[in-house]
């Protein structure tokens, strides 16, 4: 029952993604992006991953407003220009190949909802679940993994975010467009 619901929701996600690419109206594309994101939030809630669902929904809200404010300008509403046929054919071929590979890979996996521990009794995940509260003192096992067992990953992720923001701000501020001979933009 749950799986059928999730399959329906994922088909909804696919339709939204296709519409986001296909439509020429920028606002419609952003709204279709929102459909993709919020439907994925519902899927995460159904799969009992509240941490991911909270992050997904708040990032989606922020992203949609930034996109509407900055990408959808008042003057530019639609995408102009024709579509490139070889490019579209290449994209379709790429998606088809990835789909076939994905189906093959999923057949090799354990069934959905079948924990890895049943096949590998010495997997680290078992240690995390059993000793997480004792080792780290954190009741939320996700935080225990993120900030204690796998703290290096979080540190690297925070550094990547920091570097990206520094680059974005350096590029987007006005001063960078000023040369000794005057502003480049004007």
């Amino acid at each position: 029952m749950l799986m059928n619901l999730i399959v329906v929701l994922l088909m909804f996600v696919t339709v939204g993604a296709v519409i986001a690419i296909w439509t020429r109206d920028l606002l419609s594309a952003v709204i279709a992006m929102g459909v993709v994101g919020f439907t994925r939030t519902v899927v995460f809630v159904l799969l009992r991953a509240p941490d991911v669902a909270i992050t997904q929904v708040v990032v989606e809200v922020l992203l949609l407003v930034i996109l509407i404010r900055s990408a959808v300008r008042r003057e530019v509403h639609t995408v102009e220009g024709g579509r490139s046929v070889p490019g579209a054919a290449l994209a379709v071929a790429f998606v088809a190949v990835m789909l076939v590979l994905g189906v093959i890979a999923i057949r090799e996996l354990d069934p959905f909802g079948w924990p890895l521990e049943k096949r590998a009794p010495d997997a680290p995940a078992i240690t995390y679940v059993e000793r997480g509260l004792e080792d780290t003192g954190s009741g939320n096992i996700v935080t225990a993994v993120l900030l204690d067992y796998r703290g290096y990953d979080t540190l690297g992720e925070a550094t990547v975010l920091f570097t990206a923001i520094v680059g974005a701000v350096a590029l987007l501020r006005r001063e960078c467009r000023r040369t000794p001979h005057g502003r480049v933009g004007d």
Binding site: D51, I54, I66, R69, L147, R174
Partner: protein, 164 residues
Amino acid sequence: MEELATEERDGMSLIVGTVTHWVCAFIMLYGLYIAAYGHLTPGGGFAGGVILACGFMLMMLAFGKKRLGKSLSLGRASVLDCFGALFFWLLAAAGILLGGGILFKNFLPHGERLRLWSAGIIPLCNAAIALKVMASLVLVLGALSALRVTAGGKDGEFVTDIEE
């Protein structure tokens, strides 16, 4: 009333502004809750920081960019961003000095289980991440929505240009 009229031109209507006054406090409170209770309930520093940034975004949409610059200017946001990143790095590196040579050694006492003040450095890490994510997203918001950023502030800090 004149002040309201000038505000109106920059942001949205009086109704939106009044509602935002009320809602914004709750959004900020929820963000702080998500970040502070990250080691007990779902959520964490990243989600809490994004919610706090959403509060600032709502403020910017309702009252205009000028108000956002007043409450959290881009120069101050970049300082907060760097401070959060540095704080997180220091917490991780403190394990080398205090915890026996590895990063992310939880050197503080764990305290009573499932309490707000527990789990050693994890709440501090969450706070640092929340600060960092909030400041960097406000920076992105300001830089993308107010693409005109000029060097007009004090001490070389850049402020958003209101003219569009």
